[in-house]
């Protein structure tokens, strides 16, 4: 699946710098989960992507 997403838009949504978004995309690309192109991201394995995102269990801050 292909998403038309600019790194600047991702940065806004995740409250990250563009540099941090770029690094994070590289991590996911190195894992074989995504491929990136100009203004576009191809999701190569949605199930693995969701699994990668699962937070470690622990006590949340919100009450």
């Amino acid at each position: 699946m292909r998403l038309a997403l600019r790194q600047a838009d991702i940065a806004v949504r995740l409250n990250l710098s563009r540099k941090a978004v770029n690094s994070a995309l590289k991590v996911l690309a190195d894992q074989g989960l995504v491929r990136t192109g100009y203004g576009q991201i191809w999701l190569l394995n949605r199930i693995e992507l969701a699994a990668y995102s699962n937070p470690v269990s622990g006590q949340g801050l919100a009450q």
Partner: protein
């Protein structure tokens, strides 16, 4: 960001405020400004950002028509937390502290909207803080992408 404003409260805000226009790229306010006014966006988009110590600009959010900003300075008296820039041509209504205070004193609907909106914003902020505490940037990005393709 507060939830969508009820129509009657919107009319009260417009009646109590001043209609202002900003050109694309123009500053609306700067981080650190002492200004307790509340603003309702009538047209256009406003980008909120702050600058890191190394000079990197970090965008926090973009608000558009019908959305309101300035609730934290209004309620707390704290200075502006971000720079606000007109991303497009913007028209907004700016309601100074005194008339806004009068409005929420006499209008239960306005008071409820503000309190519920701030409560929800606080819940979202705690969720964001929680995810930042527990997840790396790449995990958060993976979560966002996985959600986007559902």
């Amino acid at each position: 960001m507060l939830s969508r404003i009820p129509p009657d409260v919107r009319l009260d805000l417009i009646a109590a405020g001043t209609d202002l226009s900003f050109a694309r790229g123009q500053s609306i306010h700067q981080e650190g400004d002492q200004d307790r006014s509340l603003s309702l966006i009538l047209t256009g988009r406003v980008r909120f950002s702050r600058t890191d110590r190394d000079g990197t600009e970090i965008s926090a959010s973009v608000l558009s028509k019908g959305e309101v900003f300035g609730e934290i300075p209004f309620l707390t008296g704290l200075p502006r937390t971000h720079d606000a820039i007109a991303e497009t041509a913007v028209r907004l209504v700016r309601v100074p502290y005194a008339p806004m205070h009068d409005l929420i004193s006499r209008s239960p609907a306005a008071r409820d909207w503000l309190m519920v909106g701030v409560g929800h914003a606080l819940a979202r902020a705690l969720d964001l803080l929680d995810s930042q505490y527990r997840q790396s940037a790449s995990q958060r990005l993976a979560a966002m992408l996985a959600e986007a393709c559902q």
